[in-house]
Subunit: 683 residues, 2 copies
């Protein structure tokens, strides 16, 4: 694999916008299909689905305005971002919008709700006595998924929500706005969908692929659609709205970096007769999307799949998101083709996927997972995600299931550091130096898989061992995402000028992602480590116990015990140790014996799936890993228990709430025990 | 295998009552465990669960009475059945009762509701104008599961329901009551549970095994428990209750064979002040039950399981139900042990199961399925059910998944007919002669799997290819079950004197059940036939279309089309044909190639499982086979579509009801397509 190739792929794929559902994005799919075939893949096909997408009305723009007592708009937010140099002639740059926003023209007093988290609305309601019912709220981007901000605003009774990027969250210190630097300019705004899908995929066909014969809910019954208008603005416009806010003063940690008071409202201090109006004409439409699915048939075990998937659709050019990742996938496909020309064929089948409509709720990847759920459950060894390959200039970031940790370390030891001055140093050492996992071990930090990219259906719904890897910023940097995230300023040039001028970082990520899939596809014994899963489960169990123990009296009163969970984790640890011992003695010339232990390793992740799903979230079925319903515990493990513990804080009936905690502990204990059994001797 | 051995097993296992949850049934489990180990099985263990059972109060009997205007009981139903000769000294024969009945003493007018089917209550309500609200209803046993009668009575507003065995349904013509013959005596009554579990297993732990750490619903939240008292009586007592019924006359087909008017009521004609009173003290109690699980480890593929399972618990002696079946399992286990002494070991693992508490809602088998769901999904090749091995004296009866039909035919061609005068004739020919499948092919009839025995969780929840086989009555005989079903008269002697004096019929069933598991465990290529599945799906699709076409106008108005389903069935047929062609060319010396096609065959049945379940029945997940919610279509295929079509008849909003039909067609089409994909080339 070569840095120069990745540079060329990135350049080629970012010349035009390729929003999901547009002709350009179909053309790009066809181009990728053609090139994958030319590289030498056995097959590459387009797989379409007809899913609900959302677009701004081409003739009636969306905006936010301030109106006077006569209803006259005397201030209007920008209708589009200033277009970067070299792209001025393009006519199909979609302006910033919140996909799947409700239509409408709500008008009312503005209330500033900080990040729009559950705890922010709690504070407004319980400590400040501010009622959001009938108000338009303004929330800054960051901390949690924007769809949750919208859900929280709806629950608080707001009739509209404005989202904006505060420089405190979208500007790095000492960096210039693009194009002089890589910070977000004041006219830039973050696009994004505002759904609450919880893993359902297409809102009209939850659970089933959106094919021609598929039953569709009516648009009003669509799953996860917000009921109120939503719109994103940049910080210049936000400053204008926030400048003269009246009402209560903000707590210190609610203040961003704009030169405004951050008063909470409701309404303005200078003229109480002024109102905020949202004008939203965005519409939903069932639209055809296209995944590209490429395959290299496995030589010995064609019925075992290793999947490398990432999305292709972008809000505009996708210089970072997702094409920095798609360029890496392309180079891995090309490298695979070269290997095949030299006579190589992997032991297992390799599947390459270019997903569509990730930005609209992980739709392409989820529909394909629904379409192929049965064969994936039977046959998929691992899923490696390939969204943006870079989001910072500091070091590697890996999120993966515990059983893949060992492989990640092994692979990164074989890859060189891309950093200047670290010639001859391994990526592992470079990463270790920059981000030591001090609270766990003396090794590079590895994170849990959360959500927000295409691995979701594969990992959280189907239970396929998954991982993602990209280059990232320093954990000490406090800004959210990367500043130009989902803006028109995500160009090829921002990567070339700032993020990775030599393309060595993207090459390093390509070697990690590629190394993972090649090892998984070729190793006679699957490189999945059940001991690491045991180690992780012990930590997670202690973590969840610690949170529960904040309520010692209630735990005693309602006889809440974690003994069953710890006993199950202990069973799992013993089973994993015994399995590992037996694994060492497997006769690797006995094909069926090898297949048997590999099946145990492959199905281990599947064992954590509960077909009944998490409470009220039927498509989140992983008992160890799922996004929490409440941002407070996002990224924590045992999501069922966490959510139940969270609900205690607002429970009307504590006995019932603690009963649910007990039920969730029981389900977790059962699931961990069942997973242990999959590692036990088979007969 | 020897008839004499089966006779001895039956004799030995039926000396004492062994109701689930009693010490005798634990002792019997221990005995079976010990004997299986002595036979030479690799292991045999007791596996316990703590499930909700239901027993009559030992000191306060249940009964039905007629009370006069002063509330005096001047007639009381029998408190127990007359005990058959030779068993008089036993103290622990449980009297007839409806397990899980609510407690209470409801009193009111009696209404005769025929079989208590949906259509019977429709007729009462719509044609006769008889309101059951606040009434006690009396229903005759037969046609549908008793739990559905109770559910229908509750829906109709009844405050209690009496169940009785009418001679029209529980006496064969020209046969004497036991002990002179095998008909039900007038004092006999049918025990049985009256739950509506829909596959949930233990009512307090749906979805999870009832272990020590498992969260339990409170008894009031228990799944499927009736809210009204229920009690079964014999036909002598029923005649007394029905004798002087007043009110409307019965339609001709509502009349049974008692010498009474079968007037519907409400109330009595001779004295309207008389009431019926039910006195029910039955109580529910969490009780420990024990499965016996025996294993013979497979030599080449220990991680592939073939399961032979049947229940051990009986209402009283279980001469027919279940010990005629358990004796057969015991003989198969013994025969396996003998083969092992000669050096045999099956290619795949054999699992023998003696289930507990089947009579209380398939509890032992369902809890074990829940406990082992993950490894069963990964590894189970087939489940062969072994409930009662005989229910008549006429010929073989087989219910199985389509893919097992070919094996059933092959096995029965290798077994001899047990009928006198058919020496040298195969069981296949004997069966063919007596029950030709004329509406399908010139071969013995094979039925679809319904529900009502322990295969349910394995087949309908987990999607494991399943079959059951027993000796049965002539289809032309109109009585339900066999007359003494669930009464104290199910003794060893009724089998020895009437059903199978030479034990040749039970031996033939043993050879069928045994032949199935030995072939499934030993054949290098799994004897599962996907072409038969294709053939069946075509028929089922035509069957369901025909029912829908009873509403041609509505189908047009609501644009209801079955095209997607037929297209999917066509895809499946093509995939099955292609698979079958490829199968012929498989290099049987290529261990991984053989394993691959076997996995496709094994997972085919799994492909029909929808993790989301059928509407409102999360544990019925098989899209092709599940009991219908409505008795009218019991035993039909595509239960989701059938139920939706049924609901049209009582729909308030026909547009919405037809929309649900369309949704169910879409789900069925998707599932059949997904199943086709599992048969397609793997890469």
């Amino acid at each position: 694999m070569h840095a120069e190739n990745i540079r060329e792929h990135l350049r080629k794929f970012t010349r035009l916008p390729h929003l999901a559902g547009t002709l350009q994005n179909l053309r790009l799919a066809e181009q990728i299909q053609k090139e994958w075939l030319a590289f030498g893949l056995d097959s590459a096909e387009l797989v379409w689905y007809d899913v609900l997408l959302s677009y701004p009305n081409g003739t009636k723009p969306n905006y936010i305005s301030i109106v006077d007592q006569h209803g006259e708009e005397f201030f209007k937010s920008l209708l589009a971002e200033p277009v970067p140099e070299g792209y001025e002639d393009l006519t199909d740059i979609v302006p910033p919008y919140s996909a799947f926003s409700a239509q409408g023209k709500p008008e009312g007093d503005l209330v500033y709700v900080n990040y729009g988290r559950t705890e922010d609305f709690f504070k407004l309601d319980r400590e400040m006595g501010i009622n959001c019912t009938g108000k338009i709220v303004i929330a800054r981007y960051g901390k949690i998924f924007r769809g949750n901000k919208v859900k929280n605003a709806m629950l608080a009774g707001a009739k509209g929500i404005v989202l904006y990027s505060d420089p405190a969250d979208y500007s790095a210190v000492g960096v210039e706005p693009y194009p002089a630097g890589w910070n977000l300019p004041g006219g830039g705004a973050q696009r994004g969908n505002v759904l609450n899908l919880n893993g359902a995929g297409d809102p009209l066909t939850p659970g089933y692929p959106a094919k021609e014969y598929t039953y569709r809910f009516s648009p009003e019954e669509g799953l996860g659609l917000p009921k109120i208008p939503v719109h994103p603005i940049g910080y210049n416009d936000a400053a204008r709205l926030l400048k003269n806010m009246g009402g209560t003063a903000s707590p210190p940690d609610w203040k961003g970096a704009l030169n405004v008071s951050y008063n909470i409202g409701p309404g303005f201090s200078d003229d109480s007769k002024r109102n905020i109006r949202m004008t939203i004409h965005t519409y939903n439409q069932v639209t055809r999307i296209y995944n590209v699915i490429g395959k290299i048939r496995g030589a010995q075990e064609p019925d075992r799949y290793v999947i490398l998937g990432g999305h292709r659709d972008a809000w505009v050019f996708g210089g970072i998101d997702p094409i920095s990742g798609a360029a890496v996938v392309h180079e891995i496909a090309q490298a695979s083709g070269k290997l095949m020309q030299r006579g190589w064929r992997p032991r297992r089948t390799l599947i390459f996927a270019s997903w569509d409509a990730e930005e609209f709720g992980l739709l392409g990847s989820t529909e394909w997972a629904e379409d192929n759920a049965k064969i994936l459950q039977d046959r998929a060894v691992a899923y490696i995600n390939a969204d943006s390959a870079i989001e910072g200039m500091y070091t590697l970031r890996v999120d993966c299931t515990p059983s893949l940790q060992t492989l990640v370390y092994d692979v990164t030891k074989q890859v060189g550091s891309p950093e200047v001055g670290e010639e001859g140093m391994s990526l592992y050492d470079s990463w270790h130096k920059r981000d030591n996992w001090t609270d766990n071990r003396d090794a590079p930090r590895i994170n849990k898989l959360g959500s927000g990219s295409d691995f979701e259906a594969y990992f959280i719904r189907l239970g396929i061992a998954s991982a993602r890897a990209r280059y990232t910023k320093n954990r000490k940097d406090t800004y959210s995402n990367y500043p130009v995230y989902h803006s028109v300023y995500e160009t090829y040039e921002i990567v070339e000028h700032f993020y990775d001028p030599t393309f060595q970082r993207l090459l390093a990520v390509a070697r990690v992602r590629g190394g993972l899939i090649f090892h998984l596809a070729d190793a006679p014994i699957l490189p999945l480590n059940c001991l690491e899963y045991a180690h992780a489960l012990i930590q997670y169990a202690h973590g969840i116990l610690k949170i529960a123990q904040k309520h010692p009296e209630a735990m005693q009163r309602y006889t809440v015990s974690f003994d069953a969970l710890f006993s199950a984790v202990n069973n799992f640890t013993n089973a994993a140790n015994d399995f590992h011992q037996r694994l060492k003695k497997v006769d690797t010339t006995d094909l069926l014996a090898v297949r048997m232990v590999n099946d145990q390793l492959m199905y281990l992740e599947r064992a954590f799936i509960d077909p009944l799903g998490l409470p009220d979230r039927p498509f989140y079925r992983h008992i160890i890993f799922a996004p929490s319903s409440h941002n407070k515990y996002a990224g924590e493990s045992f999501p069922g228990i966490y959510d139940a513990l969270f609900d205690i804080e607002s429970a009307v009936d504590p006995a019932r709430a603690w009963d649910e905690v007990k039920r969730q502990i029981s389900i977790a204990a059962f699931t961990v025990n069942a997973a242990s059994n999959t590692l036990n001797p088979v007969a």
